[in-house]
Amino acid sequence: MSPILQLKGITKQFPGVLANDHINLTLNKGEILALLGENGAGKTTLMNILYGLYQPDEGEILVNDQRITVLSPTDAINAGIGMVHQHFMLIPVFTVTENVMLGAEPVKAGCFLDRQKTAAKIMEISKQYKLEVNPDEYIKDLSVGVQQRVEIIKLLYRQAEILIFDEPTAVLTPQESDELFVIMRSLTKQGKSIIFITHKLREVLEVADRIMVIRRGAVVGEANPKDADRNKLAEMMVGREVNLVVEKEVKKPGDIVLSVNDLVVADQFKQVVVDHVSFDVHAGQILGIAGVQGNGQTELVEAITGLRKSVSGHVTFMGNDITNKSPRAITELGAAHVPEDRQADGLVLPFPVAENLVLCTYYNQPFAKGVILQYDKILENSEKLVKDFDIRTPSSLTSVGSLSGGNQQKVIIARELSRPIKLLVASQPTRGLDVGSIEYIHKRIVQKRDEGCAVLLVSPELDEVIELSDRIAVMYRGKIIAVVNADDVTKESLGLLMAGIVPEKIEMKAGGKKVVETTF
């Protein structure tokens, strides 16, 4: 049988980057093909070409041996190609029905929307593929997992035969991911074909029928999940040997450094997003906060670092009450913050590396004398840090915005860790980075802990939290629903906790009470 989809010699050049370099790809009917590669390897570009969002410079696309030209998403839809985007293409204030029908609306009496007809069709699809969803609900009221189902239904409603999933698990809990894999299996069983884009090795091995690895815009190899192993795949992906395990020795934690007491924080809509949270972080200890994104972690970190006012409760740092203090006051006490969004909150992108490296100390000796900045000292400092932290930049005067994500993050890490600090608040420190940079940043964080610094690590990546942390607090809908020892917890039970399911055997005290004891 001939393959359902063939890409031949697809090439796409962006200014300065060859995003796709003569890529060939074949997809057989009823299979799940995993496209594995690091961020920026060119996976998404390739799929955007297939979906008509970009035009290739060279190459051709064949569906069922028929050459097609895809100038717009409409062409792709007509050719039976559908895509579940990494960032959902759903309109929050529309209902499920409206989102599904948009662009292919059935009408009655010539011009009026036929919502019932679409709703009935949704129910039918929902039954056939076990995608449970209520057509009348608004998207903004649905959980992320259900929103993703709506995205899938959108494709099936348009009778797509080839489904592209772009990093579909990035926003899901492990359990939701498993559910998604079941759905993907049931889709292929009913004759659909799937391209699954990811950079997570575990998922590829679990769900794919065939694996294709892409590096720097080119195909570097294919593998069969049955006889491939994690390290081999990682090596193919990165192009060198990678140490996937963080090495760290057991340490005895010291005194309490950061203490959060009954903290309540609201978001801009006055919704309580951090709900009576209490915990302590000790010197020489990494406390990991696990949880699916959007469960209050962002606001918690902002409240601790002084970026957001809390409603009630206290934050104490080294015995000082820092509740609702200014970020500068908190920083000067010896706290460091690696923010979640490095480009928006961590750096001033048009400023040079050297200036970004003194953003929290520029007004002090030796970088300033009175109101005058001492550029020789600032540059000296920069040269030293660039070397120490292995920041790959043409010079200290290059603007940070032109560096790669990994090197931008290293600038922040260098700035924050080079100061004498007693607390490090790291929020998603490795988000969107390549395996090499992740490895480096993990090493640095563990090193800081070994020096006796208290570390609060927030990350939605379960692997990262488990490997780095000494203790793990799980956040769900604004509450800390459990605190566990990193060594005696399994990934599965953490996953359940992240979904808000508290197994009986994990002791739990929620709401208002102290949940962290120091039982080392």
């Binding site: 979906y51 998403p73 309109i91 948009l102 662009g103 309580v272 769900y476 399911i501 508290v502 197994p503």
Partner: protein, 425 residues
């Protein structure tokens, strides 16, 4: 493994905060005291206020006059406001709080009129009728805004489009001696300005506020120039025929509503027709769904094969047509001649009505009539020989706009991609 699902619901820090609840209550009680002290106690105990319920010069759909004993009515209104205020402080009205504030506000306005007209007669229906007339350009301006902003283009150039249309309506109407041709040219002028705004903000992605401001300045200057050079010099160029009043059979016989809504000029009918068409089109047709999707999440619309750029052009041009109608109302529907700057910022108040009406045609009409009422109140009171200076009263519509925008805005849903140019990466 047995697992128990914990359901932790997100709590909102109460919809109406405690402070707000008490302040609202206190304001309502102050209104009650004000009605009693300032209005009720100053009225002679036997004075009577007569409200005429048929606008002047109307013969169909008459309604009997409404005669109220002034002091008794004022005392009742004061007591009602007081009770509402006390209830507000003790228990609160929850979700109905804003509606109740509106009601107390209505009591206040009615008390004010009763006091002002005690011992005299006041044509309430005439006032409402003129409120609707004043509401026409505001509401049409709001409709124009809704069309543009629901598709994601901020349009503050409505004022300029209205002014241009008013001028062209008068000039061309006079030249061709036809109100209809005046209307046609007026609308065309506004559409051309809308096209300019569309090209600048959609194609060239210029900041939409700047583009709108430029168009407003251009319009003000251009119309002033033509007015000074031609319209004022050759008076016959500024004397267009007008679209006169005509009755709608049957509907015009309804008491009160008939004379106000169904025995008036074309522009009021256009406003009502547009209200229905827009409300249905926006929320129940393919066109409306697609247009709203473009204003909310253009990328999502694009991935489903909807032409974002085309949809936005369409919306801005349609908005131009509606703004043109709003402007032409001044010269060929209401005044019969063009004066410099005669739109007096009503295009901007239209935008306020759009926001206050939560980007819904029905809401915009409500807000438009509220602002129109403020206008007509100002005019009426200066005629009644009120003790309040008429200059002060004429600021009422703007004051009310400010109070409304400061106090109520921020709760509605603004189209998510409003004012953001669409770029295909």
């Amino acid at each position: 493994m047995t697992a128990s699902t914990t359901t932790i619901q997100r709590v909102k820090i109460s919809e109406i905060s405690q402070n707000r609840k008490i302040i609202t209550g206190i304001v309502e009680i102050i209104v009650a005291i004000f009605i009693y002290v300032v209005f009720a106690s100053k009225v002679a105990s036997d004075a009577i206020t007569t409200f005429v319920m048929t606008p002047g010069g109307i013969t169909v759909g008459k309604m009997a006059n409404w005669i109220v004993p002034s002091q008794l009515a004022l005392i009742i209104l004061a007591i009602l406001s007081l009770l509402i205020g006390i209830f507000q402080i003790i228990k609160g009205f929850g979700k109905a709080t804003n509606g109740v504030i509106g009601l107390v506000f209505l009591f206040f306005i009615f008390s004010f009129l009763t006091w002002q007209a005690s011992g005299k007669s006041l044509n309430l229906a005439g006032m409402l009728s003129s409120a609707v007339q004043f509401a026409v350009p505001i509401t049409l301006g709001a409709f124009s805004g809704i069309l543009c902003e629901r598709a994601g283009v901020v349009n503050i150039a409505i004022e300029g489009m209205m002014l241009m249309s008013a001028m062209l309506g008068s000039l061309m109407g006079s030249i061709f001696n036809s109100a209809w041709l005046g209307l046609l040219f007026g609308v065309t002028g506004a559409v051309l300005l809308a096209a300019l705004h569309a090209v600048l903000s959609i194609k060239y992605k210029i900041d939409q506020i700047i583009s709108g401001t430029v168009i407003n300045i251009f319009s003000t200057g251009m119309t002033a120039f033509i007015s000074q050079k031609f319209l004022q010099v050759y008076q016959e160029l500024n004397n267009p025929p007008m679209l006169s009043r005509f009755e709608i059979p049957l509907l015009s016989k309804i008491p009160l509503a008939g004379p106000i809504f169904f025995n008036t000029n074309l522009f009021v009918y256009i406003m009502i027709a547009l209200l229905i068409i827009l409300q249905v089109a926006l929320f129940s047709t393919r066109w409306g769904l697609r247009m709203r999707s473009v204003g909310e999440h253009p990328k999502a619309a694009d991935t489903l094969g909807i032409n974002v750029i085309k949809t936005r052009y369409m919306a801005v041009l349609l908005g131009g047509i509606v703004a043109g109608l709003a402007g032409a109302f001044y010269t060929i529907g209401s005044v019969g001649r063009f004066d410099e700057g005669m739109t007096g910022g009503k295009g901007f108040i239209g935008l306020a009505a759009m926001i206050f009406g939560n980007y819904n045609p029905v809401g915009a009409l409500g807000a438009g009539i509220l602002f129109g009422f403020a206008d007509s109140l100002g005019t009426k009171l200066s005629l009644l020989g009120s003790s309040i200076p008429s200059e002060l009263m004429s600021t009422a519509p703007y004051l009310i706009t400010m109070i409304v925008l400061a106090g109520f805005v921020g709760k509605g849903h603004v189209p998510a991609a409003d004012g953001v140019p669409y770029e295909k990466e």
